[in-house]
Symmetry: C2
DNA sequence: AGCGTATTTCGCCATCTGGCGAAATACGAT
DNA sequence: ATCGTATTTCGCCAGATGGCGAAATACGCT
């Protein structure tokens, strides 16, 4: 699955989608959880999930009768926390990168 | 200058703007350089720069008779390189974050 | 003040995005 | 096969985005 950096940023450049990615950074969630989290209609959340999935940010897996989403690009969670810290006025610095 | 994570991602979620941010990660550039880089009209590039500036991603400083842009959020450069590596199929991992 | 170059803003148009309800689909269970 | 629940897709509309040329602005210099 090819990662397109622009698509990743676009995917995260929306309130609901970033919120979803941050939540998935804390653990797996089913769609119902995420609908409750972002406060949008089920179809809208599903659409946002498909954007995140197409960008390779999240992965989905059917488990029982529901679909569980997880963060496929962990560095996104790290960076998001980094920006959140910056938003709080803390000094931001990513130390190391890929290997 | 308040950092809004969503605005940062939105700002970077565009081919030209990401290209600009990556270039600024390598050093300061004037607008003419960036126009040459992205291959869009001068007004369009200027608009993209204003989006990046509003998001706090870049900073501008007048020097002589031209304006020099620089990357105001260095972690963006780190993360962008990280994603670029992922796009090349390399294993991606951000080790440490804010402090 | 006036000139020239660097940069931004304006106005317009075409396209993309995001919201929702309704309808369709997928799949486990009976 | 049918049922029921979980999830996605469709169709529509309103508003945002991105492109450009033309016009406006900003500033250093003489």
């Amino acid at each position: 699955m090819a990662v397109d950096p622009v698509a990743v940023f676009r995917a995260l450049g929306h309130r609901a989608r970033l919120q979803i990615a941050e939540e998935l950074g804390r653990g797996e969630r089913c769609v119902a959880d995420l609908v409750g989290l972002v406060g949008l209609s089920w179809p809208s959340v599903s659409r946002h999930l498909s954007v995140l999935r197409a960008a390779g940010v999240v992965a989905d897996e059917r488990r029982g009768n529901q679909i569980v989403y997880s963060l496929a690009l962990p560095c996104v969670g790290t960076f998001a926390r980094c920006l959140a810290a910056a938003a709080r006025g803390q000094r931001v610095e990513l130390r190391t990168c890929c290997r």
